[in-house]
């Protein structure tokens, strides 16, 4: 099982922390993930196999034409809806640089 201390170290690097219960949940989830990784590792001769990112090629995949669609633009109120502290229509947070 993945060490809780190791998860804490990783969380620190990503600049967040969790409570003990959450770490335990994560440990259990990682347990499944790592077991699956082990199973994959048992498949022989994978060295020259290119990782398959997409299951099939989208022959019709296209780029988007460069047009503004006003209806996708959120109102300032909606932009800030998930934030508890707002000042001058901006999200307020503790200072992030010294």
């Amino acid at each position: 099982m993945i060490e809780k201390e190791y998860l804490k170290k990783l969380a620190g690097k990503l600049m967040f922390d969790m409570n003990d219960e959450e770490y335990e949940t994560l440990q259990k989830e990682f347990d499944v993930i790592l077991k699956n990784m082990d199973r994959i590792a048992q498949i022989p001769d994978l060295k020259n196999v290119t990782p398959m990112t997409f299951p099939y090629v989208h022959e019709t995949a296209k780029l988007r034409e460069d047009k503004v669609e006003e209806d996708v633009v959120l109102s300032v109120g909606n932009v800030l809806k998930n934030s508890k502290h707002n000042v001058h229509d901006q999200v307020k947070l503790p200072k992030v640089v010294e």
């Binding site: 989208h58 047009k67 300032v76």
Partner: protein, 478 residues
């Protein structure tokens, strides 16, 4: 003497109507949070779709930098946590960037320097943060604006080379019209990697990274400060620490931000929400056709073919519109040297004085060429030519119209000029005496002045001098 090794990472916002992965506007504004869509905020359920114009402009810039282009567009996720990145990852390119292995040639003083380009990739900008005494504010307008990053090989050897490279790169952006590249709007920013190595040493020294420097003069000062600092560290027998430093433009010093041991692992992986899109040869060819001759090649042409000085050529290629204007003046029949001197001394000076751009400038290249041609063919004095140009600009009128209306064409008819000369001589007997009896030859110029006055500056001064001397000499021999 240690050698300086510099590599640059340049970020430049791409000029498009909409953002890189959403249809919200890519438009500079001071009003916060008005150009934001759910995709830009990374809300659950979003589906980013790549902007064709942003891809086209990134490929175009890569081509202009002589890079190899990929056969398909693929984006990757760069994962890190910071308040300016609401999704928790930035969509960028690692697997197949828009360009790899290119180069850019430019002048440093009178020498040509080549900087190798490692890669050019397309990504998205972050939100902007404003820092106050004890809090920070986030404005998401900038989130998702298309951003090109150009990474050089570590082959730049001084602050002057770095600045010359950045200036040339900026001119590439402007010539290609892919970006406004205005550093005061944060549209062009630069990270500098710098290390020192002993002369003859093949291995690179420990590098220090300086992030987000927003002006060319700050890049220059940051490099100079770092060279001095690293030299002092090495002189004391100490080791340079591998770290990220921040340049503070108020003190002109760099400060440590974080050491390499704390470096973030970005856990790159292919962006699963954007399927790969094939880039056809036709698409690439279409883009290639749109690339105009750039400043460096124009400059070489002006110096080698047109015989202009490096100084003048540099001024003329600084802006594509000016260079285009200059070339139009030539197409309308003006000689290279005259076109160059009139554009620099009159057009650029007028633009500066009037504080307007070339688009707002009344005088067309054809109008300027017409006046230059009259002056060069001795049909109009230089003096009149300049005055007419200024008048034309001021009154927004065709200079030829002003010339015709005021009968300002140069008088070359010897009989007409002779009449003026004789009149002047008759009216000024004392000066004639000085010339004839005292041998004061320079008095001839006094009469040229009189002829010019009488002819409203239309007489050809060379012919006038000839006529005056001829008349005065006659009196000597009487």
């Amino acid at each position: 003497m240690r050698k300086v090794v510099i590599g640059l990472e340049v970020h430049c916002e791409v000029m498009t109507h909409s953002k890189n992965f959403s249809a919200s506007p890519n438009e500079y504004t001071m009003t916060p949070n008005i150009h934001v869509s759910p995709v830009d905020l990374g809300l659950p359920g979003i589906l980013p779709v790549a902007n064709k114009e942003a891809v086209r402009k990134a490929l175009k810039t890569a081509m202009a930098l002589h890079c190899e282009n990929p056969d398909e567009v693929i984006f990757d996720r760069k994962n890190y946590f910071y308040p300016d990145l609401p999704k928790g990852y930035q969509i960028t390119q690692v697997t197949k960037p828009c360009g790899v292995r290119g180069y850019l040639d430019f002048y440093v003083e009178d020498k040509v320097k080549r900087v190798e380009i490692h890669q050019l990739h397309l990504e998205e900008d972050t939100a902007s943060l404003e820092h106050y005494n004890n809090f920070s504010l986030i404005d998401y307008n900038r989130s998702g604006i298309p951003l090109m990053e150009i990474v050089t090989e570590p082959c730049i050897e001084s602050s002057d080379e770095a600045v010359a490279f950045l200036e040339t790169l900026r001119s590439v952006f402007l010539y290609l019209e892919v970006s406004e590249a205005a550093s005061d709007k944060g549209q062009m920013r630069c990270d500098v990697n710098i290390s020192l190595k002993e002369e003859g040493e093949t291995k690179l020294g420990t590098k220090v990274e300086m992030k987000n420097i927003n002006s060319f003069s700050n890049v220059h000062d940051a490099i100079e400060y770092e060279i001095k600092r690293q030299n002092e560290v090495l002189d004391h027998g100490e080791k340079v620490v591998q770290e990220t430093r921040r340049f503070d433009d108020t003190t002109g010093k760099t400060f440590s931000m974080r050491e390499k041991v704390d470096a973030i692992d970005y856990k790159y992986f292919v962006e699963p929400n954007i399927p790969p899109v094939k880039i056809t040869k036709e698409f690439l060819e279409e883009i290639r056709q749109e690339i105009p001759p750039l400043a460096f090649s124009r400059m070489n042409k002006y110096m080698e073919e047109y015989g202009l000085s490096r100084y003048d050529a540099t001024i003329l290629v600084k802006e594509k519109k000016i260079s285009d204007y200059f070339e139009e003046v030539i197409k309308n029949g003006a000689s290279y040297k005259s076109a160059s001197s009139w554009v620099i001394s009159l057009v650029l000076a007028s633009l500066n004085k009037l504080e307007i751009s070339l688009e707002e400038f009344f005088l067309t290249p054809k109008m300027l060429a017409d006046v230059i041609n009259l002056v060069d063919n001795n049909k109009l004095s230089m003096d009149h030519g300049k005055k007419i140009i200024y008048q034309a600009i001021k009154e927004k009128r065709n200079p030829i119209e002003i010339i015709e209306e005021n009968h300002l064409e140069k008088i070359e008819d010897q009989n007409v000029i002779l009449n003026y000369a004789q009149e002047a001589i008759e009216e000024n007997p004392e000066q004639v005496r000085q010339y004839v009896e005292e041998g004061k030859d320079y008095i001839a110029n006094f009469f040229v002045g009189k002829v010019m006055q009488k002819s409203r500056r239309q007489a050809d001064p060379k012919i006038a001098l000839e006529m005056i001397k001829q008349e005065l000499e006659k009196r000597k021999n009487r």
